[in-house]
C-alpha cells in the first residue's frame, strides 16, 4: 500500500520577497508591521524564520499565502507575482484548521474534491499519505477525536495531497506538549528529507529552528525585516539526539540567540513588552548553561 510509486513528482518552488512593506490603518492610525523586507525562500530547502512574538511573522505569512497584498514591494513564486491564495502555496496555521465536520479522510481529500480532481491516482496518493502520517486507523474519526499531534499530522497530509510547490508552516507545533513537540520535529524533518519540497517554517523557538532549518532567517521586532541569515550546514538526516550533542548546532544557536538578544534589547529600550519577556527568558537561559 505505502508504495513510493504513488507519489507524483515534486516540483519545488522558490519565493522571492523584494522590498515588501505592509501597513494597516490610515493616516495617524497607520501601523507599519513589515518594513522593506527582502529575502528568498530557496528551492527545495527548509527555511525557518525566527523572531520575537508579535513581530509581524504572521502578517508575512498572510502575504506569502496571498490572503493579503503588500503595501509596497513584490512577492513572486518562481518569477510569477503572487496575487491570490493558491494550492501552490499551502499554509499550516498555528491552530488546527482541519474542518471539524469532516472525518480525517474527507479532510485530506478536501483539496482534490474542491478542484474536481478526485481521480484514482489522487485517492492512491491520499491513501499513501494517510499511512505516511500514521492515521490510517483514524480515517473515519473527526478532528475532535484526534490528539493535538495527530491533528497536525492530518493537516500535513491534507496539505501534501495537493502537491504544493511550497509549504508554509506558521508555528505549527505551538501548544503541543514538549514530548509530542520533539516527536513532531523528528517526524516533520523526516518528511522533509524524504521529499525535499520547499518549506517555509515560522517559529519563536530557537531549538526548533536549529534542528529543522537549512537556513534561518532572524527577524527584527516590529516593523519586521530580516536582520541575519544563518546557514545551518548540519548533516541530514538529523536526529534530535545528534543535534543536542553537536557543537556546530550549539554555535548556530548561540549566534542566533545573540542577534535576537541584541534585537530585543533595542526594542526593549523602546518599551516593547514582548521584548522585555524575551530578555528575561534569555538571561534565565544564559544563567542555566
Amino acid at each position: 500500500m505505502s508504495d513510493a510509486r504513488a507519489l507524483p513528482a515534486i516540483t519545488a518552488g522558490e519565493i522571492t520577497v523584494q522590498g515588501v512593506s505592509k501597513s494597516y490603518g490610515t493616516s495617524h492610525m497607520r501601523k507599519e508591521v513589515v518594513r522593506k523586507c527582502s529575502f528568498t525562500i530557496e528551492r527545495a530547502k527548509l527555511t525557518v524564520m525566527i523572531g520575537p512574538s508579535g513581530c509581524g511573522k504572521s502578517t508575512l505569512i498572510r502575504l506569502l499565502a496571498g490572503f493579503e497584498q503588500p503595501s509596497e514591494g513584490s512577492i513572486a513564486l518562481d518569477g510569477a507575482s503572487i496575487t491570490r491564495p493558491d494550492r501552490d502555496r499551502l499554509v499550516l496555521f498555528q491552530e488546527s484548521a482541519l474542518f471539524p465536520w469532516m472525518t480525517t479522510w474527507d479532510n485530506i481529500l478536501y483539496g482534490p474534491r474542491a478542484r474536481g480532481e478526485l481521480g484514482k491516482e489522487t485517492v492512491e496518493l491520499a491513501e499513501f499519505l494517510i499511512h505516511k502520517v500514521g492515521l490510517q486507523e483514524f480515517r473515519a474519526k473527526y478532528p475532535g477525536q484526534l490528539s493535538g499531534g495527530m491533528q497536525r499530522r492530518a493537516e500535513l497530509a491534507r496539505a501534501m495531497v495537493n502537491n504544493p510547490k511550497i509549504m508554509i508552516l506558521d508555528e505549527p507545533f505551538r501548544g503541543l506538549d514538549a514530548m509530542t513537540k520533539e516527536l513532531m520535529w523528528e517526524y516533520y524533518a523526516r518528511l522533509f528529507e524524504e521529499n525535499r519540497r520547499t518549506n517555509f517554517f515560522v517559529t519563536t523557538d530557537i531549538d526548533e529552528a536549529v534542528f529543522l532549518a537549512d537556513r534561518v532567517l532572524v527577524m527584527s521586532n516590529i516593523p519586521t525585516q530580516v536582520v541575519a541569515v544563518i546557514e545551518v550546514d548540519l548533516p541530514r538526516p538529523r536526529r534530535l539526539s545528534d543535534i543536542v550533542e553537536s557543537d556546530r548546532a550549539n554555535d548556530v544557536k548561540k549566534q542566533a540567540l545573540s542577534i535576537l538578544h541584541a534585537e530585543a534589547m533595542r526594542s526593549f529600550a523602546h518599551g516593547s513588552r514582548a521584548a522585555a519577556d524575551f530578555v528575561d527568558a534569555y538571561l534565565k537561559r544564559a544563567r542555566n548553561s
Binding site: D86, R87, V91, F93, F99, W101, Y110, R115, G144, Q145
Partner: protein
Amino acid sequence: MASTVDKILASRAFWRGVVSIVVFVILWEIGARSKQWMAPDAFAPLRELLGAIGLKKDYLPWIGAVPAPSAVLEAWAVVLGQAGYWQSWYMSLLRVAGGFIAAMLVGIPFGLLLAVSRTAHGIGFPVFEVLRPIPPLAWVPASIIFWPTQELSITFVTFLGAFFTIVINVVGGAKSIDVRYFQAAQSMGSSNWDIFRRVILPGTLPSIMVGSAVGMGITWEVVVAAEMISGGGSQQSGAGGGLGFFIWSSYVGGSYEQIVVGMISIGIAGFASSELLRRLGKYVTPWLRAR
C-alpha cells in the same frame, strides 16, 4: 434497541427524573386536597394564620384551588375518548408544524444570505431588526386582517415566533466560523460555491439546530396564545380549535380539570417536539458528539 432501553433504565439521571415527577405529583395531590385535611380542629391555628395574612382560610394558598392530579386524570380519561380532544391536538400540531417548517424554509436561506452577502445584509438587516422586537402575539390582530382564513393567520403568527430566532442564530453561527477555515479552503482551490456548501453550511449547522430548538419552544407558546385570542378558528363548534382553544373553552365552560389536562397536553407536545429536534440535531451534526 433493547440495549438502549436497558441503558436508560440503568441510568441514574432517568430515575432521578422519575422520582422528581412522582414527588411533584404527590405534593400536588396533598396540596390540592388541603381543604379536606385542614377541616379538623387541629388545623384551626393554621387557618387563622392564613386568614390573618389575607388569604382564604379553608385551604392552602393557591395550590388548594387547583384540581388534584387524581381529578385531572379522571377528566383526562374522559376526554381521551372524545374526538374533540384529539382534534385539538391535531389542529395545534398542524399549525406548529406548518409555521415551524415554513420558518425553517424561509429563515435558514435568509439567514445564510444575510451572513454571506454584505449587500443583502445592508438591505435586509435593518428591516429585520426593527420587526424582530415585535412580539409575535402583537401580530395577531394584524394577521387576522391580512390573511384570508383564520387558519392562515394563526400559522403565520406561529411562523413569526420561530422565524426571527432561527434567522438570528443562522446569521450568528455563520459569522462566527473561523476565518482559518475559509483561508484553508481558498488555498486548496475551493470555489465560492464549494466553500458555501462544504464550509459555511456545515459550519452553521450546529447554530441552525440550536435556533430551531429554541424556535420550536416559542412556536408552542405562540400557537396556544394565538388560538385563545382568535377563538381557535373553529368552523366546527366545540373543541375543534387546537389545544389553546381547548383550554380556553374549558375555562369558559368551568371545567377546571380540563384546563389542567390541556396544559399538560401542551407540555407533552412541546417536550416531544423538542426531543425530536434534539435527535435530529445529533444525527445531522455527528462530529459534535464524537469526542
